[in-house]
Amino acid sequence: MRLLAFLPLALFAAMAIYFAMGLREDPSVLPSQLVDEALPDFDLPPIEGYQLGLSDDDLHGEVSLVNYFGSWCPPCLIEHPMLMQISRSGVVPIYGIDWKDEPGAGARWLERHGNPYVRIGDDQSGRLAIEFGLTGAPETFVVDREGRVRYRHIGIITEEDWEETLRPLVLDLQSQ
């Protein structure tokens, strides 16, 4: 009975430790279900004014980045110069998917800000985004030679993200 009175204290101590640990976590970051899985099958039409669309077949045989963007998405604009830089470096081809844009809006946007993409698919309905488990734009997927997703980057790719995470990963996958 005497010890029982200390039970609440013991439970609280356990809880306090857990809270202290929990403070360092960000529960809003979602792991991707697609990591190490094959890409979903898809065949997107090109956006207005472009010849080449994008299908999953295009992503086989070479390590690549797949970037979801939209002309309506301010963070995408912030990310854009970084994508242009990666594209110019020639390290890895970038494929774009234009998410829920009005016809022509994506093309105008790329005309104004430059086109870092080898091919661009038009996901106007946003249906494919669900297959990718997308939660927002921009998001970028690293795809290996076999067409499997190896990494998912949520949000803007910064210089740091590229140099410290994505580039080493891409180089590693290319050397395999």
Binding site: M1, R2, A5, F6, P8, L9, F12, A13, A16, Y18, F19, A20, M21, G22, L23, E25, D26, P27, S28, V29, L30, P31
Partner: protein, 659 residues
Amino acid sequence: MIAELGQFLLILAFLVALLQSGLIFLGLRTGDTAVFGFARAGAIAQFVLVGAAFACLTWLFAVSDFSVLVVADNSHSEKPFIYKLTGVWGNHEGSMLLWCLMLTGYTGVLAWTANGIAPRLITLTFAVQSMITAAFTAFLLFTSNPFARLWPAPADGNDLNPLLQDPGLASHPPMLYAGYVGFSITFSFAVAALIEGRADARWARIVRPWALAAWTFLTIGILLGASWAYFELGWGGWWAWDPVENASLMPWLAGTAFIHSLRVMEKRDTLKAWTILLALMAFPLSLVGTFLVRSVIITSVHAFAVYPERGVFILAILAVVVGGALALYGWRANCLKPTGVFSEISRESSLVVNNLVLAAACALVFFGTFYPLFVTTVSDETLTIGAPFYNATFNPLVGTLLILVPISGMLAWKRAKPGPLLRQLAPAAIAMLAAGIIAFALADHDRLAGAMGTALAVWIAVGLLIDLKSRLKLFDIPLAASLARARNLPLGIWGMIVAHFGVGILVLAITGVSAWKTESRSFMQPGDSLTMGQYEIVLEGVSRVDRDNFIAEEGLFHVYYGERDLGSLAAERRFYPVRGMSTTESAVQGSALRDVYITIGEPVATRGWPVHVYIYPLAFWLWVGGAIISLGGALSIADRGRRSLLSRKPAAEQVQVAE
């Protein structure tokens, strides 16, 4: 100048609180009885100081002094005056100041009304209360100073969050805080009792009105929050089991268990250690409700990342408050020897079951709220624990407990004979079965859940009427005599019956709103109509409305039920330019039997406006049931246990006072 004055007053309040708690402990140690006298004066001084500081901040908001950071961030010169005032607590710093005002307010009222309480007990209570005040005024001063200046002062403010520009939300936090903070008093009394190593029926009687006051305010606060979610947030419901709501439910459940076990302790001088433990838990759960969930961990990790010192400070306070109190509990709980005994079948036993289930329900909500965070901490996985989880666990648990409601009040203290009781309640059982069968037959979906909910509600309501009838001997003796009995029935009993009756109504309303609701979504153009069973909803037109500080798109609907014209109603989508935020105003066409609830979304090219229509049967009774429960709480507060005070152990009480 006013800002500096406010800050100065706040620093003074902090120092007074700090000094007071220190001096009391010192005085009690050295046996100096002078501390008894100034403990009260100090408590009132703290209230006056914090009250004046709060008045200063209110003034700064009223005159739109944008050289003060919180005013610049959360107000705007063009905002309606009333919302300038409510804007005082529409932000972190101001709401914390309000919290401190409530805290010292409670202490002040205690100082004002505390007569006939053993001097050591009340003085220790003031000491603990002052420690809490010191901790939170320090939190304000060091991490969330409401009087911080901004230089250079901007020409105009950043407006208040448009969601907060609503009478419901303006009154919702103060009520909720009045509930949360009220549990600080019972917490302090419990700590004082543990330091004294003694708690008895008398202690329970002193604490009971405070517990009931806190519980009643919390009930009203949760109710206002739910109605705000229902009418303003426009997501289409009144309770979503999201972390913010759960945070207010946890202290409410603990508080509900507490007021029930307090009754046993007051009348029978037993379950003492458990009651004290509940008193110790209700307040920390309130703190979790105010801080951890709202501003630190769950909803917004970013808030924590931006102000890590706030989170650490609050966690430190929580660790000291709870850790200290529970250590004290472990050390002293064994001093609390029960004297009353009771048999397995008795009022006491039924209240033990009540406490067991409520504590389990509280723990369930706690784990449901924090488990996803826990999983994320120990692994990379993420989980969601949403409404379906609680519907599958919490609802059956609490629903089963509610079967006890009419039985418990009719059971005798100490030992009860179940036979006569069951005979008395037979009509309620028959009514319950009949209601369940009728509900099952009439409903067209969720028939089982609806039938069970209806049966439970009818069982509670009819059972309570039988209980009341037998207490008043209604129809067994002349009506005048029954009325006399009604007058003599203690307010506490009236409060109990009224509150439980409110629970019955609430159960029925929840059943209606969740089991019998129907909803429909569609894209509509002006002139289109939508049919839901007998209801026909016509979108008459959409127009733009310009108001003082927002622009709205208003969808005008007309509702028909069969041939009957139920009138028109308007749902809005508002845009607040200064913050660039959109909000929705749902349109509710209410009646006693059902609410027609409509929300309108952003228009989609060629297809029109997405319209979401709900028919919520009995939604009106949610608020009625909740109000009746609160009324029951208020009635019980008014019961000062006058008669039982005189009738019970007068000799023993005199001894205690003399000590």
